[in-house]
Symmetry: C2
Subunit: 414 residues, 2 copies
């Protein structure tokens, strides 16, 4: 049996919908890679009653309980006093943690106050966990073979603490179950259509290989999960992947952790090509996605965001007459954007995007969500129209996925 | 007493850390604005046992239970059969929902299959909730004055369903508690330093006004919460805000829902100025933030992302000699970028960013996280160096926050 973990995020701001909890997402992924199974995630209020109640419930139900939040220096942070009460212990000032906090303040050239010194007060029964990114130390508690860890809610402080201390300690304490995941990543097809294509293959999967469909904006990931990481298991899963690939090949852009922008980077790098982008309605988001890939400067020239027609004309030589006649959101305009950005930036592949992201700017002929995307390389310049139907930010995000898929398809054709 | 809600997200992919749950975040905010208090959020596995157990527990603990996920057409989706079992009912094909699904397929010009028709099979005791963005209808159950609603996990399908049906119905059923929130938004100061400055004011708050510090990347929001929306309550909270503002004025960029990029848009629009951006290491993310604001074309010209030195020179006239002598990540380069983008794009305010986002490209003098930001307007051109210490994507995000704050400060000075 794999070790079971429960994650508790503490904070009214999460329950009020004011702060998005990314911590438990990150922790879940980190524990999964160790082979520790997260059986439940909880978000609870900053109240003494709830913290004490769910500490007890979680300690009963799981081997590992990880808490985030409520450790700040301010008076609305209740996690530490609750842990003191829960374990029936008291606070003691820890000199090592105090020294850490002092060092941090010195490095940042800031004054230290009483409130910061109090952050070095630790429950007597815990092993303090050093915080190298902030002032609130973590706390590691152990009893009856179970582990409870409290960490700050600031994401990068928690992550560093997990990576440096908590994950290695958990890994040495609990036997790995080695969950084995493989992921087939598709784009440009919906969940149901994909399920229809592969339904016979799905039926052929043995019971110990579990299939999940993970749809995200514009793409669907197929996840195969099984236990154990023996060579035989791996081979069996790979055989199943090899069986399904011919059915869905034209939608598959990569495997496992590879994002579509990384796959495009890989394709461009292999072919020694450079990409340039002229994006209007997406406002820089495609360029951001591309440059989120480490090392993208090897295959990426840069982008122009010509938000006005004047810039489209002056910077990218889009004919004013064409814009007057067809409008800025039109086939000839994105063809020109894609072709000209390639020339102006001396790149090999060019992309042009122009659309109506909304909420304003729509018309009967071109309602909100109308987006034209152009692609240009040495051999061809093509364009395609998309009609999205959501709000501004989702239309922008979908447009970027569509553009990434268009780059992939056209590079594949070459 | 306000109505109490529990949110349940169903899905192994969330527990494995493969999908970030943004649904419960959005729902929490939507319920909060109605005055329905979310007392707990749960994420549980796609298993019959867990779904049945937590349905029961949540129905006991709350007035409203909202479930998302597990309604897809594929075989790993268990929510609907579990609800049928939980309520001891059976499935019946619903003609209205079937008609909706047919209409959707017709609109998209796609073939419909048996698997899609099955999505119109509804538990006999529920009121189906139409899904106008996808094929899986929602289900509204009521008993003993309590409400259980099941919705798809696809974010925009769930949102539309909430907005069109679920929120109005909940609002009419449950008396509003009218939680009253005000938010003071600060940037450029840490949580502890802010707490130190306002500690006397914080002590002066009456017990029925609750203060929370909500730190996010590079900014801290102060949230004041109280019950009731009488004019007197609002005035009392406003008085407390007026008291604290003189102490922290230089860090405050806005109130309530206004994001820093919206605040900048407001400032630029009022002054009839246009912004242009030349961003290298941030790769388009600043431009994306700016253009995520609806109507930004009124005060935004556009951006150039000159990822190579060649583009910095050819497109923005940055002297090659300067880049050779000082490097691309340097004060004279961002001064030139900020000044020249303003001229080239004929804008009033220019911003230039150049840095080492990482993981590669660092040196002893310019380690990963070194970022120069330049600002230029009619009266001045200035630059500032920042040193971030995280990984690529966090360095990029912090750089964008720093740039936004630099625009704010310099516009304020004018």
């Amino acid at each position: 049996m794999p070790a079971k973990a429960i994650l508790i995020s503490i904070g009214d701001e999460i329950l009020y919908g004011q702060t998005l909890d990314t911590n438990s997402h990150w922790i879940a992924g980190a524990l999964d890679s160790l082979g520790i199974r997260v059986s439940k995630k909880l978000t609870i209020a900053d109240t003494r009653e709830d913290i004490l109640y769910y500490l007890k419930e979680s300690e009963d139900q799981a081997d590992v309980v990880l808490l985030t939040g409520g450790l700040g220096p301010t008076s609305d942070d209740l996690t530490k006093p609750c842990l003191v009460e829960y374990f029936g212990t008291q606070l003691e000032r820890n000199e090592e943690m105090l020294e850490n906090i002092r060092r941090l303040f010195k490095k940042a050239g800031r004054e230290m106050s009483e409130v910061h010194e109090q952050q070095a007060d630790m429950p007597a029964n815990c092993t303090p966990v050093a915080n190298n990114m902030g002032t609130a130390p973590g706390m590691w508690f152990e009893r009856n073979g179970k582990v409870i860890v409290s960490m700050p809610g600031v994401p990068y402080e928690m992550r560093k603490m997990m990576e440096e201390t908590v994950l290695p300690k958990l890994s040495s304490m609990f036997i790995k179950d080695s969950i084995y995941h493989r992921m087939i990543r598709t784009i440009g097809i919906g969940e149901s259509a994909l399920a229809e294509i592969i339904k016979d293959w799905e039926k052929s999967l043995p019971p110990h290989i579990k299939l999940a469909y993970l749809p995200t904006m514009g793409s669907v990931k197929l996840r195969l999960t099984t236990s154990g990481e023996s060579e035989q298991t791996k081979k069996e899963v790979q055989n199943k992947i090899d069986e399904v690939l011919p059915l869905i090949n034209k939608y598959v852009y990569g495997f496992d952790d590879e994002e579509i922008e990384e796959a495009i980077g890989r394709m461009l790098k292999t072919r020694n090509l450079k990409l340039a982008i002229a994006e209007s309605c997406t406002g820089g988001f495609l360029s951001h996605k591309i440059t989120s890939v480490a090392g993208s400067s090897e295959w990426y020239s840069g982008a122009l965001v010509p938000y006005s027609n004047q810039l489209k004309n002056e910077q990218l030589k889009v004919d004013n007459k064409i814009m007057e006649e067809h409008g800025a959101v039109s086939e000839p305009v994105v063809l020109a954007l894609a072709k000209n950005i390639r020339e102006v930036f001396k790149a090999d592949v060019g992309v042009g995007i122009s659309g109506v992201a909304g909420p304003g700017g729509g018309s009967k002929e071109k309602p909100v969500g109308t987006v034209w995307i152009g692609y240009s390389d040495e051999k061809k310049t093509v364009a395609k129209k998309f009609q999205f139907v959501r709000d501004r930010n989702i239309n922008i995000a979908y447009s970027v996925v569509a553009a990434l898929n268009m780059i992939r398809i056209n590079l594949d054709k070459d």
